[in-house]
Symmetry: none
Subunit: 210 residues, 2 copies
DNA sequence: AAAAGAATCCTACTACGGTAGGGTATATTG
DNA sequence: CAATATACCCTACCGTAGTAGGATTCTTTT
């Protein structure tokens, strides 16, 4: 028994939460929208008010807690619609959300009108899982060469670049000429939109390949 | 000649930008707040409207573009107040912002009332730089230039190397000749026992410099 | 069968990174 | 005072990285 036109936004960035809440009220015809920074606040809100129609859940990866929370919400508030918002636009994340029982998934990079569309779809009890319509700049900890639009060979070379190996050693390891490596690298650079291997390394800092 | 009560929010997440904008209007007494996803949109806005009273700038690190943009804004719109918002709670970032001429710095994790305080301080032409009141986990993943046996200047250069900047830009940023940078780098390399900057970057992978 | 893509090779060229070997100025320290 | 360290400047040199414009083979797609 959820109350129409009530929503809760949960995000560990209070400012963002408040912002999204304001947006929901002004553009998506929600009467009352509450915000929560963490799980405790969420359950508190649910206790004192009634179960909301919609929960907008920020998928924050660092603790990996989001999927657990999602399951808990599914169990405690079976009639509440759950929209997951993520800064990561990895398809894998979206898939996990879908498996865990989320009703919709949207990127933070998405346009506001996409957001409005998603919410209105959800309100009609439809789901919202789009195949990553936005510029594909995956930010998860692991990344595959294919996701970057690279060939298999380029992927191998990229791995060695990220290990800091110079062309000569890469060529040696793959038993081809140094020039061939250079050409693979040229392909990688133009595909990734950078100028040199150093930009590749810094761009992929903190990520692991394949 | 900035117009009172006008602000621009620039953030590469449109939803967040709109959210913050809505928040500024409802809680900080701004009449009109515009949003921009990128630099081009910002300059476009500035062209067709008048210079804003306040710019809220998201500090997105990946391209290291923010500090450049900050400088450009300082130059083009000297009377506009600049508040930088960052997801990183690194003191070094805050310091850089201060050096680059920002008027205030605040974490995305900060509470909304802190945000309101910051904005109202800035509107009174005071600055807002707090010593990271938030959970400051001093990781062992951070490393200082002194620990590496480097001089202060070498430390600065190392920081820029780790950001992936080429010598020319480092020289420009520090206002010295490119050759001087090369010599600092030679010092860094021999001290760290590596052959080139790429080995430096991969050797310090996962660590952060202070 | 023809076209397209991927991997391999080549030469030649440019630009950047780094070393070597000079020099000057300043501040700190023995 | 002399010595040391740091930061800054210069020219010259060399090696690596990356681009450009060729070419060959093989596989996959049309």
């Amino acid at each position: 028994m959820s109350i129409q036109n009530t929503a809760i936004v949960i995000d560990d960035h209070p400012l963002v939460a408040r912002g999204v809440a304001a947006f929901l009220q002004s553009h998506c015809a929600f009467n009352s929208v509450f915000t929560a920074d963490n799980q405790a606040q969420l359950w508190q809100l649910v206790d004192i008010n009634h179960p909301p129609m919609l929960i907008v859940l920020d998928f924050w990866l660092q603790s990996g807690v989001s999927l657990d929370l999602l399951s808990q919400i599914k169990q405690s508030l079976p009639s509440t619609i759950i929209l997951v918002v993520s800064a990561d636009d990895d398809i894998a994340v979206q898939h996990k959300v879908q498996l865990a029982g989320g009703h919709g998934f949207i990127h933070k990079q998405a346009n506001t009108d996409v957001f409005i569309q998603a919410v209105s779809s959800l309100m009609r009890h439809q789901t919202w899982f789009k195949p990553s319509s936005y510029h594909h700049q995956p930010k998860e900890l692991t990344i595959t060469a294919i996701e970057l639009g690279l060939t298999v060979r380029q992927g191998e070379v990229l791995g060695m670049i990220m290990q800091g190996l110079p062309n000569k050693r890469i060529a040696n390891a793959l038993a081809v000429s140094e020039q061939t490596i250079k050409e693979h690298i040229s392909g990688i650079l133009s595909r990734m939109g950078v100028k040199n291997r150093i930009e590749v390394i810094t761009k992929l800092r903190g990520k692991r390949l394949e």
